[in-house]
Amino acid sequence: MFLIKLSLKNLMRHKRRTMITAAIIAWAIFFYITFDSFLLGMNDLVFQNIIDYEYGHVQVANSSYWENKDELPLKNLMFNNEEINKKLTEIRNYKAHAPQINFQLRLSDGINETPVMGKGISPQETLNVLNYEDYIVEGRIFQAGERKAVIGKRLADIMKLELHDYVTLLTRTKSETFNTIDAEIGGIINTPNPTINQNIVLLPLDVVQDTLSVDNMVTHFIVRLDDQNFAPQIVEEFNNELQGMDRNLSVYSWRNLDEVSITQAKQSGNNFILFIVLTIAAIGIINIVILAALERMEEIGMMKAMGLKEREIILSFVLESTGIGVLGGIFGCILGAISVYFFSLYGLDFAAFVDIDMSTFGVPLISKIYGTWNPDAFINMFLFAVFGSMLASILPARWAAKKDPVQAIYKR
């Protein structure tokens, strides 16, 4: 108890030094918590963007197709028949579903040409799953059978295309022969998802099926649930049921997306930054303990003369450093809380950063990012600061406590 009292008093012996070291720790915590909140906020937004504009909550596809889906193959497709449509409505928490065909496409205006991804969609059903309707900035979504396309605003800007312009869409059929679709730009869409805005051309499903010669087949179905949190459970539950009908089919949750692993990788980056910053803080703690030990050499000698054991002297220094960790932890968490509060309230608008397109960095979002509260980050960082400070001080404290009492008393 007395050692705790002594350590607290020693903390205030060099207020400026204590406060600077605590400030370094506080800054590290503040930085981590803010960055963590930003990443979580960005993750939430990324996932919501993908769910709302590309993916839905779950997708159903042939498992062989799914393995190669990024190559946009026209093999291992699935039938869009009554049986599967009925089956999908039996999913727990079901809200809506829609068939889709993703395929390779080259968009040409007669002069310029660019590769894009074609999406054959059933308009009414798709609008129940994906939120396109609110983001049609010009024209309208097409009807089934219309040879009309909806393209993203950014793609339209790049290709200098306007509403009612005609474009030629070059693709390969299922049998690998070339075919084209001449379509009128019937609508221009501008969603918060840059992938949709820049890389995708939406076309009526029946027109696409006819062009690709795939009969009534689709690459996959997208399904919207009432609650997205059920998605992983539904994958488990519905997979068996679905495979009873066709054992090649599988259900995939939005959590299986590549983007999820990208954001996890970003979290590792965050931890690396944390490691660097806290290493600096640990060096600060080691430095402060060595300085204190050198300054208090006579006191250490006196304590040893009074019969204090080495471990008690170590404890007094460790308690002092732990106190700095607690101070830094508290200040850091307060600063972090203020930062997250404002960040979650006002967000960070990427539009403010001219010409920064997050899709360039593999982050499919262009809207404001809001901070997300993560209580775990606060608890972990506080504990990290306290225990980190404690551990960082043990070796220098041991060095001080092992000093020969005679040498310490007479500063030899």
Partner: protein, 235 residues
């Protein structure tokens, strides 16, 4: 049984390849309740002798019996235990903890002993501060005390745990002669009142006059050991 018995105690410091003998076979017996000074010129081995007796340093050779037990070869953990319970120290430069008050500095010495109630601690600390004439100054920090007052705090700190032996290394060296005399009188009073054994080093002839027993050390050897029965320093 004598409190302290030294038999052929030698201490040699190794400075590189050179061996420097600080004590050359010291033979000494100190009885309980003695008020003894060790004097001699600088480098005569006074501080080394006190360090060896106070379990701060180990002799190179010889035997040291403290309350009958040979402590010369004990492990440093046991030596720390002996210091904690039985030996008080007063240093030339006071060595008070600057962030603690006079009360807390004295309290520190007794707090590290186990099994003493808070009430008893408080009682003993106040009593000791009163005995050394520091009543009313309990809450002052060392930087708010004069040199003499600081040394009184150090004396109170050394005595509060009721040690068998108090070792004082040149306790008046940093004090003016008047204050030095006051400090010595207090030490003598404590010796009279508490029957604590005092062993202190000095090279100041005035200070030596306060001792009942004077031991002269020259080149690491005892060259004179005088006793006197009556002291009239209070008159």
């Amino acid at each position: 049984m004598s409190l302290l018995v030294l038999k052929n105690v030698k201490k040699i410091y190794h400075q590189g390849v050179i061996n420097v003998p600080a004590l050359k076979g010291v033979e000494l017996i100190v009885e309980k309740g003695e008020f003894t000074t060790v004097f001699g010129p600088s480098g005569s081995g006074k501080t080394t002798l006190l360090n060896v007796i106070g379990c701060l340093d180990k002799p190179t050779e010889g035997e040291i019996y403290f309350t009958g037990d040979n402590i010369a070869d004990l492990d440093k953990r046991y030596l720390a235990e002996i210091r904690r319970k039985n030996i008080g120290f007063v240093f030339q430069s006071y060595n008070l903890i600057p962030v603690l008050t006079a009360y807390e500095n004295v309290e520190f010495a007794i707090k590290i002993l186990k099994n003493i109630s808070s009430r008893e601690i408080k009682k003993r600390v106040f009593k000791m501060l009163e005995l050394v004439g520091l009543q009313g100054l309990e809450n002052r920090k060392p930087n708010e005390l004069s040199g003499g007052q600081k040394q009184r705090v150090a004396i109170a700190r050394s005595l509060v745990k009721k040690p068998k032996l108090v070792l004082a290394d040149e306790p008046t060296a940093n004090l003016d002669s008047k204050t030095g005399e006051d400090v010595l009188k207090i030490m003598l009073e404590m010796n009279e009142e508490l029957k604590t054994t005092f062993l202190f080093s000095t090279h100041d002839p005035l200070v030596m006059d306060y001792a009942q027993r004077k031991i002269e050390l020259k080149d690491g050897q005892i060259t004179r050991d005088e006793r006197r029965e009556e002291l009239d320093v209070f008159n």
